[in-house]
Amino acid sequence: MTGFVVRRIGQMALALLGVSVIVFALIHFVPGDPVRTALGTRFDQEIYDALVRRHGLDQPLAIQYFSWLGSAARGDLGVSFRSGQPVTGLVLERLPATMTLAGAALAVALVVGVPLGVVSAIRSGSKLDYAATAISQVGVSVPDFWAGIMYILLFSLTLGWLPPSGYVSPFTDFVGWLKHLILPALAVGLVSASIIFRFVRSAVLEALNQDYVRMARAKGLSRRAVLFDHVLPNAWIPIVTVVGLQLGFLLGGVVVVEIIFAWPGIGRLAYLAVGDRDFTVLQGAVLYIAFMFLVINLVVDVLYAWLDPRVRYD
């Protein structure tokens, strides 16, 4: 097990290295560069050249990459071209917002998805099951950004219940923080809820059909006892997997929802960085997201093994 984890951490480091190479290569294929973008329409060749030299952008790409890599290895992700601020700071500043949104969305997803999935599976074939399944089918099909827009249209612009966008820190204004959080968390969370619902439902269904469950029922154990002692413990495994994957996705991937709700998160940071060709920031943001994603995968795998002794490592 330890060997497995160590090996996986090694592979993670390699994967992160690969991510950084791809991001670096991609952003340099893109027309436009951070200096020209920063200068805007007021362009002057001499000034441009000076800035390019100052940022070391006149160096060959390989040298630029390795000098970035060298400082990155020491924990210094460089400085934003756009704002002149250290990238680590920019990413860390946005970490709470992203984590809040991911956490809230996941909470929505779990609160809605898990109980509904369990009930649907137990009453498989009932009207409730049919309705829940159909609704979840709708849930996974709604584009989250469209849902976000519709929520803003309905709950903010028409009803005026909730603020349409933005973020406030919970430490300065807790109620305000909560209000700002609800709509984006719902926009993202309900999609996740639909996915989690489907997995929980099928995992529980599968567990219900196992021989030992039938046996337990045959032995006269109460439905409740069977459910909690035999069914759910075995259904955990796929549920942990899907929840882990969803969390990984939420932590990095809700770019468009962050844009719509002006949510100051990492996804939006990465999106803006592409527009500004601010590749140190893009690198920092993407590496962070990739790192979270890989860590969560690792944790999921370890949990998986711990929950299910049939899994072996090779």
Binding site: G32, T37, G40, Q85, G166, S169
Partner: protein, 540 residues
């Protein structure tokens, strides 16, 4: 936002006669230390209430002027005034920094950090006398060396200041004594004041924040508000500078700039009272806002202009007749209506009516398809098609391109719209890799800003590649002509030539629009779009 009790009455609005300094020769201007604040021009708010004339020595910062929450549509990039080119940054820096001189409400240049100046008879030496007792937000007194340092920093190509070109005619900047700065010029520069103080890109900064590297993140100026903090969730916070050199100002305790990219959402925040002020209004909302008593809407004719240009290096757009045919065929009225919902004045030239430099010249009948057809036939051009480079970062350019495409269709011209991100846009513009592009110019004051860099064959922004020796001669002559009327006559000729040769195809001048809560007083939309909260106050 809960309304706060205002302990202070409105300060006296000292209305000093406008000092038209820009073009008077060899004359010393001294307006004393009364400053030059003029009453805001908006509807009837020019009441002058007596003020408590206490001395601003810092301690009375408790006077409750309230915290203004101002919503901007874009995020500032960096806060170094010499290096940023983002309007969002200047919305903040306008209130933090000062320049030697600054545009007044009518956009003529007024004293700011310089109280007065003398111009030598040969027009080549300008001597600026600094206001005394001005301190930076870090407490250090402003001296002539700071001006010299700031200007040299801008002029040094190694700095990478995009505004270096404004100092092109400056030979040297020297500190004669603590409060006197002398600027030597290589040629007469009638628009020197605009070049030095047209906007905060030429701000006077203290050397120490450049050296310790904090200028990007923690600006320190001499302006009415000092920078407190910046974070992605709290926005940018400024607080009142108690030692500001204009007595009794500023009135607000704090300004919090928040960033709300979506214009509709931004406006909703104003309607629900989450913010007090928004930097722009989607034009389609104007109608409903005009009818809304709970929001103050101000529309001011601005000096900005929208235009498009062809690549003169590509056939058939090397032929002025072809470019002119397109300028004839479009209908500016419809374009302005579609993109700005009437909040714009169609214009075949750049400078708007009402501006001193305006020249009435409108040779084209709107939507003259037949005339255009004839010109194209004469030029032997058929089956014309071109790619139109626009950017969603400026959504009106995408809208306008679609309208223009539809207007050119009857001519058999195919327009392919190329909506690229702005970095790509800039890159391709710089490389000359385009058939046609569309954008707008904002914040121009002097006609030299409108024409020289854009239409002189050596001009830094002449990406369309317009080259006409007559134009070069006109622009070179006009920029050193110190007689205002003679100068205008030259620029009038230039304006006509640009239209006739369709170097740029001008579309319209948009209105500058602002909206805020009625509780905000002492603020008005400016012709140059500068966001100045120095005289603003929030009523309970």
């Amino acid at each position: 936002m809960k309304p706060r009790e205002s302990l202070r009455a409105l300060a006296v609005m000292v209305i000093v006669a406008m000092v038209l300094v820009a073009c008077q020769q060899g004359e010393s201007v001294d307006v004393g230390d009364a400053g030059t604040t003029t009453a805001p021009a908006d509807e009837g708010t020019t009441e002058t209430t007596p003020t408590d004339t206490e001395d601003d020595d810092g301690e009375e910062a408790t006077a409750d002027g309230g915290t203004l929450i101002a919503a901007q549509g874009a995020e500032p990039d960096r806060l170094d005034p010499h290096l940023t080119s983002a309007y969002a940054s200047f919305q903040i820096l306008e209130n933090v920094y000062d320049t030697l001189v600054q545009p007044g409400d009518d956009l003529s240049m007024e004293p700011a950090l310089a109280e007065s100046w003398d111009i030598s008879d040969d027009q080549l030496t300008w001597t600026f006398h600094l206001r005394e007792g001005v301190t930076f937000h870090n407490g250090r007194e402003l001296v002539a060396d700071d001006v010299v340092y700031s200007y040299e920093r801008i002029m040094d190509p190694e700095t990478g200041a995009a505004n270096a070109f404004r100092f092109e005619s400056i030979e040297s900047v020297t500190a004669v004594d603590e409060n006197t700065v002398e600027i030597e010029l290589t040629r007469p520069t009638p628009n020197l004041l605009v070049n030095l103080g047209g906007f905060k890109g030429m701000a006077i900064v203290p050397q120490e924040i450049v050296e310790d590297g904090s200028i990007d993140t923690h600006p320190v100026g001499t302006g009415p508000f000092r920078f407190v903090s910046s974070s992605p969730d709290e926005g940018i916070l400024l607080e009142r500078n108690p030692d500001y050199w204009q007595e009794g100002l500023p009135r607000l305790d704090q300004i919090r700039f928040v960033q709300i990219p979506d214009p509709t959402v931004k406006l909703t925040n104003l309607r629900t009272g989450e913010v007090h002020w928004v930097d722009s209004v989607p034009p389609q909302e104007l109608e409903s806002l005009e009818a809304d008593d709970s929001i103050v809407l101000e529309r001011v004719p601005g000096g900005d202009y929208h235009y498009f240009a062809f690549n003169h290096a590509r056939e058939p757009f090397d032929n002025p007749d072809v470019r002119r045919a397109i300028a004839m065929a479009i209908d500016r009225e419809v374009i302005a209506e579609a993109a700005q919902f009437g909040a714009a004045t169609p214009n075949q030239t750049a400078i708007p009516e009402g501006n001193f430099w305006y020249h009435e010249y409108a040779p084209f009948t709107p939507g003259d398809v037949e005339g255009a057809q004839a010109l194209l036939e004469e030029a032997g051009v058929t089956d014309l098609s071109f790619a139109f480079m626009v950017s969603s970062e400026f959504p009106e350019t995408v809208t306008q391109a679609q309208v223009i495409a539809s207007q050119l269709e009857p001519l058999g011209i195919t327009v392919e719209i190329d909506d690229v991100d702005f970095s790509t846009w800039l890159d391709r513009q710089g490389q000359g890799d385009f058939d046609a592009f569309m954008l707008s110019w904002i914040g121009n004051i002097d006609p030299d800003d409108f024409y020289y860099a854009q239409h002189h064959s050596e001009g830094g922004f002449n990406f369309q590649g317009y080259s006409n020796p007559d134009m070069d001669a006109l622009l070179d002559e006009a920029r050193v002509e110190t007689d205002q009327d003679a100068r205008k006559a030259l620029y009038d000729q230039a304006a006509e030539m640009i239209v006739d040769d369709a170097s740029y195809i001008y579309l319209y001048n948009p209105e500058n629009i602002g909206a805020w809560t009625p509780a905000l007083e002492g603020y008005s939309v400016r012709g140059d779009n500068a966001v100045r909260f120095v005289e603003a106050s929030l009523n309970p």
